[in-house]
Symmetry: C2
Subunit: 168 residues, 2 copies
């Protein structure tokens, strides 16, 4: 459930870069995302210039596959965008740094889907509970299911508020 965490060391990072990368590695861990995402985003975040896939592979010392997949996920989350650097064949990436966007992407990709699937599971649950014959038990079940519904509802209400508070 927990773990010692630290294990990053690239010859190629300055002390600051290393610290920032570690910072984000911890950050994404809390969010349940793989460490490579934290490494990639962290390095982009603390770089003045956009970086290419190869830059990231070199500086972080992780595989091309990881970086490729990591960038894809980060793009989906809206945490990274392609820079328009015209004069090079390869693509350069820069980080999205406004919190609103980051939080929005995370909610959209990681929270909403679970909330939604939860809600549909609750539907089924209600149907199943209705089959219970013992009235005492059925009453108990319904009460609990109602509580779950109220939790989900609050969760749903929370998200926009969250975004509002964090969005500047």
């Amino acid at each position: 459930m927990d773990s010692p965490t630290s294990k990053t060391q690239s010859e190629n990072l300055s002390s600051i870069q290393q610290q920032v990368v570690d910072f984000f590695v911890d950050g994404v861990r809390v969010l349940g995302l793989p460490r490579s995402l934290g490494e990639i985003y962290g390095l982009l975040f603390i770089s003045q210039e956009p970086l290419s896939l190869d830059d990231l592979v070199q500086k972080l010392g992780i595989s091309k596959g990881s970086v490729s997949q990591g960038l894809r996920t980060l793009k989906t989350l809206g945490a990274v965008r392609e820079a328009e650097n015209i004069n090079d064949r390869r693509t350069y990436y820069e980080p999205a740094i406004d919190l609103k966007r980051l939080v929005g992407g995370f909610i959209r990709e990681q929270i909403r889907p679970h909330l939604d699937s939860g809600k549909s599971k609750l539907q089924l649950l209600q149907d199943t509970a209705a089959l219970t014959t013992d009235p005492i038990e059925r009453a108990f079940l319904n009460e609990r299911i109602e509580r779950l519904e109220s939790w989900m509802k609050r969760g749903g209400q929370l998200l926009p508020i969250l975004q509002k508070i964090l969005g500047q």
Copy 2:
């Protein structure tokens, strides 16, 4: 990063119990907690009577070790309490079912520590950044670090608001 999830099946659970357990297994997964916690809490949540460690082992078909550790964690999170059932040698457990308490425990145990460690890492970062000689670069680093600080600050502000909204 994702997985099919489903794999619970105990001969000993009613259809409803099974569904609720699955519901919570998914739930704790989102929170980054082990599935056994979801199974245990889920079964307690949908049981009219408090259950003993052995009840949970029997009904869920998981090991005594898992249940013992799971209950400990749930107690730490404030999600489960010991029932005062006097006339039995063993301890019985019942779920905490008010959201305020659950959210509070989760924040206290899982969020705050990370926020705090993040804040101290930022301190170090500032010190390291101050050593940078190139003024342009130092300015850039400081700007980014400031941004991180503002994120952490908002995170800190958010928690009480969260608790307020979710707490009835």
